[in-house]
Amino acid sequence: MAEMDTSSGGGHKKGPGVKKGKKMSTRVDLTPMVDLGFLLITFFIFTTTMSSPTALKLNLPADTKDEKQQNKLNENSALTIMLGKDNNVFYYEGQLNVTAGSNNFKASNFKDIRDVIMQKKARTDTTFMVIIKPTDESNYKNIVDILDEMRINLVGRYALVEISPDEDKLVKLSQGGAAPQ
């Protein structure tokens, strides 16, 4: 059996005067080796499963010039999210309305936008839709992050749309104000 030679500790005495024969066991304690083995196994299991990349699906809407075929957007149930530079996020609900009295153009970031989406989703019916408008300064990660956010919040209807010049101007103007994440 794999055990250490512990007889020197005074296990069984052979009686007075009897000299202890040097009986070194050839057995080695394999416990640390087993530990090491399993440690390496867990390491390999983890590293192999982690490296397989996943894929995020994105379906694009077909470009239709025909007005009738385009999905009519229910203005009140839409949430428009704009992606600026330095991970800035801007959003407005419904129609963009920036006048002296009212302003529904708000700044946010990737942490807070989830709550915004969740709240808006809870408030609106099934016609809820998110429109994502990346500016030219946003990067690829921002787009994937926001698409991922759609998945996380189970938003079924969302679209990637070109930003309009007015919105682009607003985003550029507000860029300095929003705290970068």
């Binding site: 996943t54 990346p134 030219d136 690829y140 998945r151 996380i152 990637l160 070109e162």
Partner: protein, 221 residues
Amino acid sequence: MSRPKIARKSTNIDMTAMCDVAFLLLSFFILTTKFKPSEAVPVTTPNSVSAKIAPEKNVILITLNKDGKVFFSVGDSKEDKEKKETILRSLNGSKNIGLSESDIQALVKAPFIGVSLGQLPQQAKMNPDQMNATLPGIPVQDTTNNQMVDWMHAVTEAYAGSKPNILLKGDNVAKYPAFKNIIAAFKKNDLLKFQMVTNPESVPTGTDLWKANQKGEKQVD
């Protein structure tokens, strides 16, 4: 009176068998692990909660690196390489690039295409070791000279009848315009479904998707 001897059993267990199993498993995992081949174009992909593993067959991979350069490649399987040959031949014919037979074979073997259509003969004569992120990339920068449209057109022709798995592998810091132009090329060829390569990430707790997963609902694609 002699007492009956109580056998003193050792508490130590024979570890040899366990050790054998451990190392058998270890050698199995080491041998079956496929090492990722070092990539010529390094790309750091973003994370997503998507649990779907990226497909490996019928793959058309478009890489967008951090400088906004676009590279085109196909999957590693033999069928994919044949498709690449078909794509190259059809482009050679329709765009009058002037690739020789050996050029086409060299480009099929090349890990990726990273030059404009006109420069393809030069890339064909390059050593595969020299093909890296220093290549200029396929021009997509503006809508007038978006050669990705031509590539995607050739892809749809080569995959007529079947569906290619279009993968887009973008770098975290790649800018949006390059991505937009690639998508424009997809749209022009009616390739409306594509997938983006990401790293897996756990679903944040308390979100709708997390709740759905708790209930045991399957993720929809």
